[in-house]
Symmetry: C2
Subunit: 382 residues, 2 copies
């Protein structure tokens, strides 16, 4: 796959990898790289990782995140089922809230890390990372004979991210959008239709995700935001590898999998073992909590001005001892060094520890960092 980023292989066209209602605008905006996420095209790069990074931090971007499929759970047993999925206590979660919640299996392995939107006491949307969570939830619901319906409605989120996101969204949805608090949502009107607008998104620049539930509104909404944002420097963008590593945002399937438990992923604050919540992996998580974890996810700052793309985990060593592996890495133009996310043995999972990383292009010295990374300059250095 190193060839893939160096002008090599393209992505085969098929209907199995879905386009989205926004794809025409994405293509027109000059997308240069996609990934495939939940069987759907996710635009990742337009100009370059670096240029997109600086732009995201200074302006406002529209992201086609239709790949964030919504697993819709509703019915008399919906609240019980959704609580079964996660160690996060949802008992006080009122409609209008969005909750980031790791899902765990019976062994305590992380199945996904969706944002759960509470639409009503008996109606939830799980905005999922890259895995077929609908199959997991359906299988459990059927096996447990629960009175719920589980579906994946045609909802295609559009993210508006960046420091000018609040102003841009207010120009389309009115000042009510400014009142939406972090990880809350409201239904606001566009073209006479109420759309769910949430103060969420996969960057730390701030912004919204708009859940477009009518395909015919997708391009009008894109165009309205585009036209209204010209003086704010609006551009097409996508989750930015550099920015999300610095922001400590983990990518499910890369930085964590079912082979990891939530404590290794620093999700303690979402594991309410001290409350009487009934969820699938409770016994497993109690065992793990009692004995402690052997590894933990951390940041790394790499002494490197260039790095190859990280397409397979890079070993992390201290002397001849392997102490972990890097799962995501990029060079940050703001720090002028490499930044990475790594799962490290507990012994070395402390800020300031010195390690070495074996990249395909050679060994690099690195320093362990807390996640997220501390702030860095938000403008292109002169």
């Amino acid at each position: 796959m190193t060839g893939g980023v160096r002008g090599g292989p393209t992505l085969s066209p098929s209907t199995r990898v879905r386009t989205t209602p926004f794809t025409p605008r994405i293509e027109a905006a000059g997308v240069t790289a996609y990934t495939v996420y939940n069987h759907t095209l996710l635009p990742t790069v337009f100009r370059s990782l670096d240029e997109d990074y600086w732009h995201l931090r200074a302006h406002v971007q529209l992201w086609d995140v239709a790949c964030q499929r919504q697993v819709d759970v509703r019915g008399p047993d919906a609240a019980r089922l959704v609580q079964l999925l996660t160690p996060r206590d949802l008992s006080a979660a009122a409609p209008g809230r969005c909750l980031y919640a790791p899902l765990v299996d019976a062994d305590g392995g992380v199945v996904n890390d969706p944002v759960i939107s509470v639409l009503a006491d008996d109606h939830f949307w799980l905005s999922i990372a890259d895995a077929d969570v609908d199959l997991w939830v359906s299988g459990l619901a059927h096996g447990l004979d629960l009175d719920v319906s589980v579906s994946t409605p045609p909802v295609t989120p559009l993210a508006v991210q960046g420091p000018w996101a609040e102003d841009l969204v207010a120009r389309i949805f009115g000042d009510a959008s400014r009142e939406i608090r972090f990880f809350r949502f409201a239904h606001l009107t566009f073209a006479g239709h109420p759309l769910m607008v949430a103060r969420t998104g996969w960057s730390r620049q701030g912004g919204y995700e708009i859940y477009v539930d009518r395909d015919d509104l997708a391009l009008p909404l894109w165009d309205a935001l585009w036209d209204a944002g010209q003086d704010l420097g609006v551009a097409a963008g996508g989750p930015n590898l550099i920015e999300r590593i610095e922001g400590g945002l983990l990518s499910y399937g890369a930085d964590m999998t079912r082979a990891h438990n939530p404590f290794e992923c620093r999700f303690e604050r979402f594991c309410h073992l001290d409350r009487p919540t009934t969820f699938l992996g409770r016994a497993a998580l109690e065992r793990i909590a009692a004995r402690g974890v052997a590894r933990r996810i951390m940041g790394l700052e790499l002494d490197a001005a260039t790095l190859p793309p990280c397409v397979a985990p890079w070993p992390v060593t201290v002397g001849s001892q392997r102490v972990g592996e890097v799962s995501s890495a990029a060079v940050s133009p703001a720090r002028r060094r490499g930044v990475a996310i790594a799962m490290l043995d507990r012994s070395h999972a402390r800020p300031g520890a010195e390690v070495t990383v074996a990249t395909p292009d050679g060994v690099v010295v690195a320093t362990v960092m807390d996640l997220p990374f501390p702030p860095s300059p938000a403008a292109v250095p002169a």
Copy 2:
């Protein structure tokens, strides 16, 4: 995505989209297109779709199909659970058999269409199409409190496909490999290690799939087949869009989804409603069988010398009436016309019916065909 095949966007590198143990040879062989399948790179094109097609039909190819993950189900309740998943009666399935089996949910929707290998009476591998079947099976197993373990072991299939596959595989595994019957497997020795060798594969040219369960054997096996096959014209290949459409091989997620039932997908012969088998969707399938299906998957021959890539379904019409949609299409150089797979209203799902197809490049006249397509010349026209 039309840009994707015309020299446009590449595929973003990440560890979330897995490379495979064969990737170094795939890159060295000059892969020009990948798709992403089960979160894994699947090489699809090397020289061109047409050249790869002619080569596959005349010679022998090595395919990196590591993306065909194996969902391993074992334990006292394994046979009961695997039977619950599919309407195909597995009661007589002995170890050594491979069974193509649609999986259905409680509503009769197709969840996947794996090949199920019977390793022992209480041990099965589901070689899955593009969906996280492990989550479905795990969810059911947990919900039903069954005594099974469900896992996804590190097994990476390598397919050897084409008219010379039997000779090539015999050069490495001995004549015992010639004795393996269609949809059976045997354990044969390579480098002192027994590998599961099955007479299966996603082409109709014949061949094998070798289930490599030790990563360190992947490149030695590739190299042994490569070296032994030089006089047979061995080349790197992959599932070929043209060949598989002509062969009537359906692609899960493209040609069929959970929105389709197995009768619409022509899977009657795998739906044993007349036997006392207990499976999830029985009630739903009995209802559907009683009332008949409204649509059915068919082939289309299109009166076109060129076609754009099919990245979103193409409407099929008769006059002003919409009668279905195309899910996969390509121009066959052997037929010198377009070939396609389409889900058509029952009224038009009969060979010989004339329809029109709205492609992004214009309307094309088409004739409905049975699947698979009849044989066509196997050599490049002079």
